[in-house]
């Protein structure tokens, strides 16, 4: 007899956290129906969400464990695979093994992965792709506010009087958040957009500030200079709720609009007017994303945003705040669960003795003390031969890390690489053992969206082939290695343990998560969740100002490499394309990669629209199709990084922010050359 069900789940793509129903008919996924009662998505989805079933049933799904024999992958059984992995891991000392957890996996799986790294492998070197996107946020907002997450909720943007979007192509990256920005605009809010490119939001913006890539600190200091000069700061807020104001005042006094214009290329009148609008608004929100974080000055950029919000008293009230838009469906959760080298779950430091004692007791095992390595450091050490083995779950550093030629050498240099993934990604190609993992439609768990909303994904179909949910794989592997404490029968049980050790998740229980989810901090079972942070006091008590001086990006254009390359995303594809390039509707929209170049630059180089050119940097070169457009300013080229055959990260610079260790994806120097015609092939 027929079986039909609608399974409410969370979209596996971006951090908006939209909900939809997976329709299952006789055990097969037949379609997607948006959820009208969800507080953020309200029955609407973007093109990726509407097509989120294609990749689940793709023929490319890995269905059995694989082992590399003589350069080819051969199928083996789960038992054999896990035995080999556990034996190998036992061989290596804890300094020689590192773990990459996944921002696409559930909270439970991230918790288990960091527990595995710390309790089984005895290393704190566990990291994930937040390092590459919002590490600066975690550090920067942690320094200034005490908590490194989005301060307000997505829906509150609709009621802001002024929204300042800097370094975020919201319409393409977080379409359902752009919806609220547009609604605010239609209600009369003022929209200020700061981006070197012409993005879809700029046509609706009241002010478009086109800064030179990498000059955000100067721009933000310029704003604060105008605000202080015209007496528009919120003196009461500064006195009562913050400390360190003198320090920031001294620094921003030097950034008058004329000087800022020289640094950023933005006309000073625009800077002055935009700053006035932001300061005079009753509720003003700052929205930012990769354009602020992915720089060698990423932490400085984030701190400057926080400074700006605090100077105008725009924190701790609805529709205000500093709102970093997290990219992945669960990158917030992966950070919250402590899949980071310096903290346990809930941002409890590994070097704090009390914290360590607590975890030692609950996990009943010795735990390492030394702070672990971050992704960039892991790759560098692997290249040198100090790291001998890696366990990578749901990440594709071969396309997403900067300077991928270096990454390839590093991963090839490893003695043992285990990759746990759904598809044979570029990283999996280099593995010794591949473990097939289940997709979001095949397991239970929770994901945390960018506005700290913990929501449930629910199992709709059985795992394809012999693939297993990641939490099951980690538990079986831990048991094979002889460790206690990994005998969970369901993700709900894992969440019970998480709630026990993680104060901000203290009240998260599966039965409480209905359609709207629960926003942390949620310390107890009666607590309803927290829509906006820092209401009466900041997480660290008083907000702290820091005076930040402007520093240029690490690699500026010069005579040999005259263009600035900035990388980014487009709405139709997602990150390294492992899921979206296996989706028919999305491939039809954008089948291959392209590079945006300004009309004038194209004319000077004598290249035409659609022509294939060579793009070279000090790290590598790629061949790519050109798109002539006015969207990028002269002297800048833009590459989406989703395309494996012309990977933008073959060119990018692995220089990173000294504290957050986040690479500078947004600025490096490249050269564009016309392809020489091969005259022998006429």
């Amino acid at each position: 007899m027929m079986e039909y069900k609608n399974v409410l789940t969370v979209c596996p793509y971006c951090g908006c956290g939209c909900n939809f129903y997976l329709q299952v008919f006789d055990g097969e996924l037949i379609g997607i129906l948006p959820c009208k009662s969800h507080v953020v998505s309200q029955g609407k989805l973007c093109i990726k969400g509407w097509n989120a079933t294609d990749f689940v049933v793709s023929k490319d799904r890995l269905t059995t464990p694989l082992i590399k024999k003589d350069g080819k992958f051969v199928e083996i059984s789960w038992d054999k695979a896990l035995n080999i992995v556990s034996e190998k891991f036992r061989k290596y000392s804890s300094d020689a093994v590192t773990v990459l957890s996944s921002a696409k996996c559930t909270n439970e799986e991230n918790y288990l992965m960091m527990k595995f790294a710390r309790a089984v492998l005895k290393t704190n070197s566990v990291d994930h792709c937040a390092r590459l996107c919002h590490a600066s946020t975690v550090v920067g907002l942690g320094k200034t506010f005490g908590s490194g997450a989005m301060t307000n909720s997505i829906g509150e943007l609709e009621n802001a009087d002024c929204i300042f979007v800097i370094g975020s192509n919201t319409t393409e990256q977080h379409p359902l958040i752009a919806r609220y920005i547009m609604r605010a605009k239609e209600k009369g809010a003022k929209l200020i957009v700061a981006d070197p490119r012409l993005i879809p939001l700029t046509q609706f913006a009241d002010y478009h500030l086109r800064q030179r890539p990498g000059t955000d600190v100067a721009l933000l200091n310029g704003f604060m200079n105008v605000i202080l000069n015209e007496g528009l700061e919120d003196k009461e807020f500064i006195n009562k709720r913050t400390e360190g104001f003198e320090e920031v005042k001294e620094v921003v006094e030097k950034y008058n609009p004329e000087d800022v214009e020289k640094i950023t290329d933005i006309p000073k009148e625009l800077i002055i007017e935009a700053a006035r609008i932001y300061a005079k608004a009753k509720s003003a929100s700052i929205v930012y994303s990769m354009g602020i974080t992915q720089h060698t000055t990423g932490v400085d950029n984030v701190v400057s945003c926080a400074n700006l919000a605090m100077i105008t008293g725009n924190v701790g009230r609805p529709s205000t705040g500093v709102n970093p838009l997290r990219g992945q469906s669960n990158v917030q959760g992966a950070c919250d669960m402590g899949a980071l080298p310096d903290v346990y779950s809930g941002y409890q430091s590994v070097s704090d003795e009390n914290v360590r004692a607590k975890f030692k007791k609950i996990w009943n095992t010795e735990l390492p003390l030394k702070t672990g390595l971050t992704i960039i450091e892991m790759i560098n050490e692997a290249a040198k031969g100090n790291i001998k083995a890696m366990y990578i779950m749901g990440e594709n550093p071969m396309l997403s890390d900067p300077d991928i030629n270096h990454v390839k050498k590093a991963l090839e240099n490893l003695e043992f690489l285990v990759v746990q993934d759904m598809f044979l990604t570029e990283t999996a190609q280099l593995a010794d053992i591949i473990l097939p993992a289940a997709s979001y439609a095949e397991k239970d768990g929770t994901l945390t969206a960018t506005d700290r909303r913990v929501q449930r994904i629910r199992k709709a179909i059985e795992p394809i082939g012999e693939s297993k949910p990641d939490w099951q794989i980690i538990c079986e592997l831990a048991r094979k290695m002889g460790t206690q404490g990994f005998e969970y029968s369901s993700p709900a049980e894992i969440m019970e343990e998480i709630a026990l050790v993680t104060p901000i998740y203290g009240g998260i229980v599966y039965e409480r998560i209905k359609v709207i989810g629960l926003q942390w901090p949620c310390p107890s079972k009666e607590h309803p969740g927290t829509p906006y942070l820092h209401k009466e006091k900041f997480s660290r008590g008083k907000g702290k100002f820091f005076g930040i001086e402007f520093k240029e990006a690490a690699e500026l254009p010069d005579a040999d490499y005259p263009f600035i390359l900035t990388t980014g995303r487009i709405i139709f594809h997602y990150h390294t394309g492992t899921m979206t390039r296996r989706t028919e509707a999305l491939n039809r929209e954008v089948p291959i990669g392209y590079m945006e170049i300004n009309f004038e630059d194209a004319k000077k180089l004598n290249i035409v629209d659609g022509e294939k050119v060579l793009v070279k940097s000090r790290r590598g070169e790629i061949e790519i199709k050109v798109l002539e457009t006015g969207r990028v300013p002269e002297g800048v080229v833009f590459l989406p990084f989703h395309f494996a055959e012309s990977p933008a990260n073959a060119l990018t610079n692995s220089a990173f922010d000294p504290v957050a260790k986040i690479p500078e994806y947004k600025v490096c120097a490249v050269r564009v050359e016309k392809k020489q015609k091969d005259i022998t092939k006429i």
Binding site: L198, I199, Q203
Partner: protein, 138 residues
Amino acid sequence: MFEPKILGFCCNWCAYAGADLAGINRNQYPPNIRIIRVMCSGTIDPLYIMKAFQKGTDGVFIGGCHIGDCHYQNGNHRAKKRVAVVKKILSYLGIDPRRVRLEWVSAAEGQKFAQVMNDFVAEIKRLGPNPLKKRFKA
């Protein structure tokens, strides 16, 4: 001086032959029209009309056989109905429906073809250039 660009879809059996006849008889008409020959006015997908405007054409002319004379019996019936609906939608989108003209011109009506063209070009000149040409750019 604004010189309109007009795209004309003329059916092979009647309107195109009529245009040809106008040429043979030296019935003068303005050079603003570019004619595309189709087998029947009923083969014209209405999306072509909108596409023409999207590309910047100032006017679209559709020429077919008189009702009852269609080489394929009732292809021109389709054309008439479709053009009526298209004109309505264009008017709601803000494009003047007078920029689309449907006329029945038989193979013997060379004079009529020239007259219709003169009239239509004058009308488009009065209406001005295609307003979509000045659209917002992202």
